[in-house]
Symmetry: C2
Subunit: 245 residues, 2 copies
């Protein structure tokens, strides 16, 4: 049975996260609902590269599903986009090998996080970036971010509720882009733990604000304790940007 | 009694336009509601530079009102912003001469209109630009826009419902900015009739699509008939950008 891979984008503002939850509007349930309609009532289960939380956005989430419908791979996005609500769009569709797995085959992920430090928040970006109306020292944040690169046990930077046993991950790069009052944090790694990017950002902002020293990143990592790191930055500044296979 | 001038920005997505309408959420009613709370139940009427329609945004709407409250002028924005919903923000506040009038003293207005010509619409901009997924010839639109400059009777470019008698307006400049798939039309003039910017954009898009010739702008102006011009572009691409006094 052909397997289809989709790259999707969504505005997380009006979703209760990616994953199906009974009675709540989620991205996965909208996708499965649209696919069910296309398959004349047959349930189609989709598998994503990973979940995203409430209010979190995506420009490059990847999912796969199996289908018996004979639609040319590149027509799937057009067909599905007419069925989907306008806050989810299929960006790309292709047929893949039946062994392809959106979650297990992901070798690299990029997340971005947007912070706006202007005094008055932009009404147009209130759902799309975290408004933090204070001065931050970007050089100090860059210095701190270098200490986070490489392979570490990131227990301190993951939700205390996380049940994953292996908390060793590798961060390949962290870039902080500045454009007027907007800061964009770009994280590329082999994978990220639950809440990890939001805790990394929250901690880096504390460095930028002078509450923590850049060098403290090392002792936070060593602590292997969520309480050692900074606050969790809010979900609406976060974007699942790109998944590589 | 001191008169206060405010520059305000709003996201028009969840408003039924600027002006008070019974039972509907409008920008003016949110402003007057916040001012009433600040004035311990006293009704405060605000006057704007002009109305904006449903879904239309503003980065630089200007309003004035009179008050007996003794708040330093530059603190009004902080005080009001804590009272207002997050889709309206006061950008600037100052005390002005008691003769100042937000509508009658406006000498120049700038409106901008955003169009996105990408095949697939951005989920993040669906309320903030008009998605027109076709190729347009920007050179032809620029050629046509030059013929619209200057002082004309713009009856053809105003809503047939408009009840204004004097339809002569002066357009000082029209710029069309291109950035990837996004086009931004910038109109500066001494004033604009009801729906005028949206009809200008709708007509220019028809020129860009090859439906009309640039030179036809002259005969449209001459016709003094709304039916001679193109479609009215949708409200959610439009921004009241700046008002000069």
């Amino acid at each position: 049975m052909p397997r289809i891979k989709l790259i999707i984008s969504y505005d997380g503002t009006h979703f209760n996260g990616y994953q199906v939850q009974p009675g709540l509007r989620t991205v996965q349930s909208e996708l499965e609902h649209a696919l069910k309609r296309m398959h004349k009532g047959m349930d189609i289960r989709v598998t994503a590269s990973g979940r995203t939380d409430r209010y979190v956005h995506a420009t490059g989430q990847v999912i796969h599903f199996d289908t018996e419908l004979e639609i040319p791979a590149d027509k799937w996005n057009i067909a599905l986009n007419t069925m989907l609500p306008e806050d989810v769009r299929i960006i790309h569709a292709e047929q893949v090998d039946s062994q392809f797995h959106a979650r297990f085959d992901a070798i690299q992920k990029e997340y971005r996080y947007k912070v706006n430090c202007a005094k008055i928040p932009s009404v147009f970006k209130r759902h799309y970036e975290y408004h933090y109306p204070y001065k931050v020292d970007v050089m100090k944040m860059k210095e701190a971010s270098k200490l986070l690169l490489g392979t570490h046990d990131f227990t301190s930077f993951s939700s205390a509720k996380s049940e994953v046993e292996d908390r060793i991950r590798t961060i390949y790069s962290i870039e902080i882009l500045e454009k007027e009052n907007e800061l964009t944090f770009c994280f590329i790694g082999n994978g990220f733990l639950y809440n990890m990017v939001r805790i990394l950002v929250g901690t880096l902002i504390e460095v930028g604000s002078g509450v923590r020293e850049p060098a403290s990143m090392l002792s936070i990592i060593d602590a292997k304790n969520r309480a050692a790191a900074g606050k969790t930055a809010p979900g609406h500044g976060l974007y699942l940007w790109k998944v590589e296979y």
